[in-house]
């Protein structure tokens, strides 16, 4: 009979959260050309962002989980315009926004993976999936630790969530 899944130790996940935060700043500072304002991280289900564009990447290795990027339509369009060098009045297409947000999620998760690898953790990451719409609910079905990092970019709220799944210890 399997032992109960061990709780994820908050002390072991705090370095992951700090690393992820640094990766988000690096991606936005370098590729989008903007400095993000930060909010207070929130654990668990304390906040489910009102978002329209969600980019998600899984990772696995010594730790497993998800990196999830949330933005509104307006925020995602602003990010897309900045990435593609479009004028403020230009309207990126839906495929352009989906691809841009997928690439943002990919770079955040990829940087995260690389930084964890330099600390001895060998991880693999999945391809990004992007969901867009105005009436959907997303959550990770896990008893692991979830932390939401809020940011602000030029008046747009964006969020990056780190989901660390628990590992089941089998007898």
């Amino acid at each position: 009979m399997a032992s109960p899944a061990p709780a994820v130790d908050p002390h072991s996940t705090q370095p992951l959260i700090e690393t992820l935060r640094a990766c988000v700043h690096d991606v936005f500072g370098t590729m989008v050309g903007t400095t993000l304002a930060e909010g207070t991280p929130l654990d668990g289900d304390a906040l489910r962002p009102q978002s329209n564009v969600v980019g998600q990447i899984g990772f696995g290795g010594s730790s497993s989980g998800l990196v999830v990027f949330y933005a509104t339509f307006d925020g995602a369009r602003a990010i897309t315009r900045a990435l593609l060098g479009m004028a403020p009045q230009d309207e990126p297409s839906t495929p352009e926004v989906a691809d841009a947000i997928g690439e943002i999620a990919n770079m955040i998760a990829g940087s995260f993976r690389t930084r964890m690898a330099t600390e001895g953790d060998a991880w693999a990451i999945s391809i990004p999936t992007v969901t867009m719409g105005s009436d959907f609910y997303m959550t990770a079905l896990t008893d692991g630790r979830r932390t939401m990092l809020p940011f602000r970019m030029d008046g747009h709220e964006i969020f990056v969530e780190l989901v660390i799944t628990t590992k089941v210890r089998r007898a």
């Binding site: 690096d26 991606v27 370098t30 590729m31 897309t80 990435l83 593609l84 060098g85 495929p95 352009e96 691809d99 841009a100 997928g102 690439e103 990919n106 770079m107 998760a109 990829g110 940087s111 993976r113 690389t114 690898a117 330099t118 060998a122 990451i125 391809i127």
Partner: protein
């Protein structure tokens, strides 16, 4: 100078091409995966290749190996632009025949430095 940019992300191709244009390089052809990249190389002269790693159909490593097996392409400069930045990844890319490596995210200055480095290699 004629560049070939190979990446399955249209966003990343646009970012790289915009950067090249700002650096004064306006002759650029694109491909969405390694197989299309080989088609572009067969269609006309290319002076420098910028490629991603993770792509469908034919990934960046497979593309570089195929490129290096083509007549006259052993010394074609190839810059890999990717999120795969662990030491083992870089070693694998160099063994496949990459000339130099850029880790995403990157600044335009980084792309310029790497292009200058591979062209003077």
């Amino acid at each position: 100078m004629r560049f070939l940019v190979v990446d399955d992300s249209t966003t990343m191709r646009r970012i790289i091409i915009n950067t090249l244009n700002k650096l004064g390089y306006t002759e650029v052809v694109e491909a969405g995966n390694g197989r299309e990249g080989i088609d572009r190389v067969n269609e006309g002269p290319v002076d420098l290749v910028i490629t991603d790693w993770n792509m469908p159909e034919m990934n960046g490593i497979e593309f570089i190996r195929a490129l290096r097996s083509m007549d006259g392409k052993q010394n074609l400069p190839v810059l890999m632009v990717t999120t795969n930045a662990a030491k083992d990844d870089i070693v694998e890319a160099l063994r496949a025949g990459v000339t130099n490596y850029v880790v995403k995210p990157f600044t335009p200055d980084t792309i310029k430095e790497k292009i200058d480095a591979v062209l003077t290699h």
